[in-house]
């Protein structure tokens, strides 16, 4: 019988084209940012070396750190909102028949594949100063001045949740779907009320999905740039916006690189916390 398994040598050969690409487009760019973050930027001249100036500036200028924590806070709000909205949908999908499930899945997956900018345009048309809601409320005489529905945290959270909700629902559904229903039936046949069955059986067993979804949405939200720019105007500033501004308007690569590394650090911490929790849950 011929073997289908490949030797180590041949397997590596198959990985080679992508590995070479990743070195150029992934490894070298990241290494460059790492090196640049320790460079010095003085009167538009970048000197490579081992300076801590950029990090010092980030920590002490009073604004970058504040915006960093604002970004973390915004991401936490987005993650929590996605969890609260996504959990019922995942539960509903689990209990639905196969046909209904496919349709719900279509509605959940299709936003994932819809351009972010298109969805932001949709929200601008609804929430904008002369958007659908304000237009209607004014013409009905309920309000005289447009309500501030966007260009604030509310608008940004709403639009980002709209974009990332799918990333919460899918892992939640996967976790809920793998729970053996007989466990819940056993609990209720022993006299537990539906709420108690949910709280002491279903919810704890779905924790891995909750954590996977929350980690994913948090990571994605930390790096979000487009939606805050469109929905927040200049009123909601996130770390990615500072990074873009540093490079495109001030050509300050070292500072931008240091901010990018701060962003990566926050994401790394989140991944470590989540994997620790995962291990703790599995025990």
């Amino acid at each position: 019988m011929e073997k289908t398994d490949l030797s180590k040598h041949k397997a590596w050969l198959l990985l080679a084209p992508t590995s070479v690409l990743y070195v150029i487009t992934f490894l070298i760019p990241l290494a460059t940012l790492f090196i640049l973050s320790f460079a010095k930027f003085e009167s538009s001249v970048t000197t490579v070396g081992l300076y801590l100036d950029n990090y010092q500036k980030i920590l002490s200028d009073g604004i970058t750190l504040k915006i960093f924590f604002q970004t973390v806070k915004l991401s936490l709000i987005i993650t929590l909102t996605c969890l609260i909205l996504g959990y019922p949908v995942a539960m509903f999908m689990r209990n639905a028949g196969p046909r209904a499930r496919l349709w719900i899945l279509f509605f959940v997956v299709s936003p994932l594949l819809t351009s972010i900018i298109v969805r932001n345009v949709a929200w601008v048309l609804i929430l904008g100063r002369s958007g659908m809601i304000n237009d209607a409320l004014i013409s009905w005489g309920w309000i005289s001045k447009p309500l501030p529905l966007m260009y604030n945290t509310f608008g940004v959270v709403l639009a980002v949740v709209h974009v990332y909700l799918s990333f919460m629902v899918l892992p939640l559904f996967a976790a809920l779907n793998s729970i053996n229903k007989s466990l819940e039936e056993a609990a209720s046949s022993l006299g537990a009320k539906p709420l108690n069955v949910f709280l002491s059986v279903t919810l704890p067993l779905s924790l891995p999905g909750i954590m996977a979804g929350c980690t994913l949405v948090f990571i994605l939200s930390m790096g979000v740039y487009l939606t805050p720019v469109i929905m927040g105007g200049n009123f909601v500033v996130t770390l990615p916006m500072l990074i873009e501004d540093a490079v495109r308007n001030r050509y300050n690569w070292p500072e931008a690189s240091a901010m990018a590394l701060l962003l990566l650090l926050a994401i790394a911490i989140m991944i470590i916390i989540s994997s620790r929790l995962q291990r703790w849950v599995n025990r």
């Binding site: 019988m1 011929e2 289908t4 490949l6 180590k8 397997a11 198959l14 990985l15 084209p17 992508t18 690409l21 990743y22 150029i24 487009t25 992934f26 070298i28 760019p29 990241l30 460059t32 940012l33 909205l85 996504g86 019922p88 509903f92 499930r101 496919l102 719900i104 899945l105 279509f106 509605f107 997956v109 299709s110 594949l113 819809t114 351009s115 900018i117 298109v118 969805r119 345009v121 949709a122 929200w123 601008v124 048309l125 609804i126 659908m132 709209h162 909700l165 994605l220 930390m222 790096g223 740039y225 487009l226 990615p240 990074i243 873009e244 490079v247 931008a256 990018a260 962003l263 994401i267």
Partner: protein, 256 residues
């Protein structure tokens, strides 16, 4: 629960429906519902040189990225699935790692490298950049279908005298086609919609998302709604294809 779920699904879909309805306005401003309907703005968009150029650039990039991404990603998926068991998981995590890197960071790093090589604002920068974020999706989708593929079929072909290459070509690839289709569709859509990395790399060239962004920042006109609706139509068709022909989760159709 049914009520909350319906509300959430409404929240996901309604804005897009409203967008499409508004795009069919005959007026020079956007309102809901439009006072009169027509395809005036679609005509405007289709005959506009700026929109044409942006669409063509986006299509060219996606047309180069999709096949390359499919080939690169499928090779990796085979290498991971058929290669040595030890260290497979770590290797897989490394190969799909661009997925978890914020695009803003990736874009920043790629911009620096592109400036160094003097290839910023060209296909030489756009294509490798897009490939980096599309390949992981091919690895995942093709990998999922390879896992459920019954290897004995390929072994049968080989014991009947087919070489490894032709056995894979004639037996394995046709069977894992749903995974390949899913990978191709993901690659196309991700490349077509990509914003932030291209935003860094481009100076004068404009892809469709970049053109939409600059128009939107300047003024909210009905033309932007028409372009959005057209983009939406393309992605909706591809999503439907993905759902009913492709495969996202291992084991048959999307849901067993």
């Amino acid at each position: 629960m049914v009520l909350i779920s319906s509300l959430v699904l409404f929240f996901l879909t309604a804005p897009l429906v409203i967008l499409v309805i508004q795009s069919f306005t005959n007026e020079s401003y956007l309102s809901f519902p439009p006072p009169s309907y027509g395809v005036r703005w679609y005509g405007e968009v289709i005959s506009s040189e700026d929109w044409q150029k942006a669409t063509i650039l986006s299509l060219i990039i996606a047309a180069i990225v999709t096949p390359l991404s499919l080939v690169f990603g499928t090779l990796v998926a085979f290498g991971l699935e058929r290669g040595p068991r030890s260290g497979k998981q770590t290797l897989q995590a490394v190969m799909i790692s661009p997925m978890v890197l914020p695009h803003i960071v990736l874009g920043l790093g790629l911009f620096k490298i592109a400036l160094q090589f003097n290839i910023a604002d060209s296909l030489w920068a756009f294509v490798p950049a897009h490939l980096t974020i599309t390949i992981p999706f091919v690895i995942v989708t093709v990998g999922a279908s390879l896992q459920t593929f019954n290897v004995t079929l390929e072994e049968a072909a080989r014991s009947l005298g087919a070489s490894r290459f032709w056995a894979v070509w004639y037996v394995t690839l046709p069977i894992i086609r749903p995974g390949l289709i899913a990978g191709a569709i993901f690659s196309f859509i991700i490349s077509f919609d990509e914003f932030i990395i291209t935003f860094f790399l481009a100076t004068f060239q404009r892809t469709l998302p970049l053109e939409m962004f600059s128009t939107l920042m300047y003024q909210v006109k009905p033309s932007i709604a028409a372009v959005s609706a057209l983009t939406l139509a393309v992605t909706a068709i591809l999503t439907a294809l993905l759902m009913f022909r492709g495969q996202v989760v291992g084991g048959g159709k999307i849901i067993k």
